[in-house]
Symmetry: C2
């Protein structure tokens, strides 16, 4: 619409009676420019409302200063924190973000990959949809050696760097904690997902049982959508089990909460009848009563770390290949939902 024409370096050059080349150098603070001319150029640019045209620049530099981000969804507290973290770092380093969400659909994820590829992002940060079981749709990037970093929801793959926490250990600690509180019939609720996050949490759970001579029963592993509704459904299963379970380790807080609410409605006492541990430290874990014991790790850290790694790599400051997996710290936060004795 009313887009008035833009000021170009030629306009500045004309006004100052110098060449466009000099203006270009002045704007970039190129060392071999006379201090005086540089100041004149910068002042004129400011005054005339000049802004550099990123497209002309990118056309030459062949880099877009843009990072693509793919997340399964934005509405979870964890994921939105991650994105905030990414944005903070990217902004500071002068990178733009192209964000898209897959809504947990591999098809959409693939579309996003293609779209971001066509937009020529310099690199990609991604967290996978639940039903994504291989990384074939990322081949566009792998083939061209455009760096891709996966975070949290990752899959093993040689061509990529993964940023996550030690899910096996976290799950081990969570289960361990339940055992130490006296639980012996411990249910595990996990996602219908092929990502290692969930596989690792499940294996940590099993390992803890094993190490304490608590027998693993595969009926105790419930596969549900990891939201409140999935939790409610799991509660129905749990209510039918005989003997009744006395502990639940859930791979996600909201699901745990949905389960707790459903059980409470049936007058099951938490933690006396059954104790709970969740995962992710969602704000709602401090709202549910009793407050939910959970595994805490910072989304901001995940996002910032991922962005920093990628940008360092893009700047040639570091190589990615040598550290294929980055583990961030986490912490088990003990609250009432799992505290059976004082």
């Amino acid at each position: 619409m009313g887009q008035s024409k833009e000021v170009t370096i030629y306009d500045i050059a004309r006004k100052l009676n110098i060449s466009a080349a000099t203006v270009s150098r002045g704007l970039q603070m190129h060392p071999c420019t006379a201090k005086k001319t540089m100041k004149k150029i910068l002042d004129a640019a400011e005054e005339m409302g000049y802004r550099t045209n990123p497209f002309a620049r990118n056309l030459i530099s062949r880099r877009t200063k843009t990072i693509g981000v793919i997340v399964p969804g934005l509405t979870s507290h964890f994921m939105s924190s991650v994105v905030e973290g990414i944005e903070r770092v990217a902004n500071k380093k002068g990178y733009n973000l192209l964000i898209s969400h897959s809504s947990e659909s591999t098809a959409k994820e693939a579309d996003s990959v293609k779209a971001l590829f066509n937009n020529r992002v310099d690199g990609l940060l991604a967290s996978l949809a639940h039903d994504t079981k291989d990384l074939a749709h990322f081949d566009l990037f792998f083939k061209k050696d455009i760096p891709v970093i996966f975070f949290d929801r990752v899959l093993e793959h040689e061509n990529s760097t993964n940023i996550l926490i030690d899910n096996h250990k976290a799950a081990y600690m969570a289960t361990n904690h339940l055992i130490s509180q006296g639980c012996r019939r411990i249910v595990h609720i996990t996602a219908p997902s092929l990502q290692s996050v969930y596989a690792d949490r499940c294996s940590g759970y099993k390992q803890a049982l094993l190490d304490h001579q608590v027998k693993f029963k595969k009926e105790y592993v419930l596969v549900e959508d990891l939201n409140m509704q999935g939790g409610a459904h799991a509660a129905e299963m749990i209510l039918k089990m005989r003997p009744a379970p006395d502990g639940v380790f859930v791979a996600n807080d909201l699901c745990a909460i949905g389960c707790m609410l459903a059980l409470k409605q049936k007058d099951v006492k938490i933690p006396q009848d059954i104790a709970f541990v969740g995962f992710n430290n969602d704000p709602a874990s401090k709202v549910i009563e009793p407050n939910l014991t959970t595994v805490d790790y910072s989304g901001h850290d995940v996002g910032e770390t991922a962005a920093r790694y990628l940008i360092n790599h893009l700047s040639g400051l570091s190589t990615i290949q040598d550290t294929n997996t980055v583990m961030l710290r986490f912490e088990l936060i003990v609250r009432e939902s799992s505290t059976r004795h004082k």
Copy 2:
């Protein structure tokens, strides 16, 4: 790093022994291109792994097909829903999103505006930081007639379109509901903010009191940060009030929840002693006990509407000027926290 060289229309032209211009037209499905050559071109493009260079294209078209988004933060369920909505529409229409968050700081907001301006976004969607009290930092856009649409957290201004709900009416209904439940000493918790969202909610509250001959007391209006901590702080104030209030209308769910938790800890009974209504239908409102009555409106709708308006405008399909404010629908969802009689 190994960025292999890109295929250009010249490469395709050479291979097919035709001119680059024809290739260009073929790729755009320009009507006056022979069907046969077009097919050849598209096939060759596919086979050679051609992807159009958006920068060369933008350089000519002077449009970036990019929309800037500024939000105060991403971690609230509402805001992340809005962004999801925006992203969905933008994607479908072939627009990219440049997202930044102000962390509720006007200074950062101004930085983002400048950054997005320099990136030449075609338009802007923004929701303001709490302490933003004028739109001067958006002048860059206003002066160049680059469309800006504000949503939810808006400020009155002639140059912009606002997308929100009728906050006055929603607050009126919320307060009304408390009165109908028998509450007469109703506290209102609001933000230390100059946005009309909060002013309108406050005025709706006052109007409802007025219409029911309930006296307005300015001590009943508490200004707090709208998060759980702010709610806990408000609870302290409420506990000191004599006579004790019997209802609270909070401009935000999380704050309401923080307040409820703090009061419950002091053995105040909800809703018997004091009833609650919140705002936004955050998922946590179904976790707190008793479940929180709240005003529901869809973040997805807000985002999709905002994006659609902007894109229609950019496509010249509609004009923005004639409808300066768009009101979306909302609904009061009554739950136990405000239900004093059955």
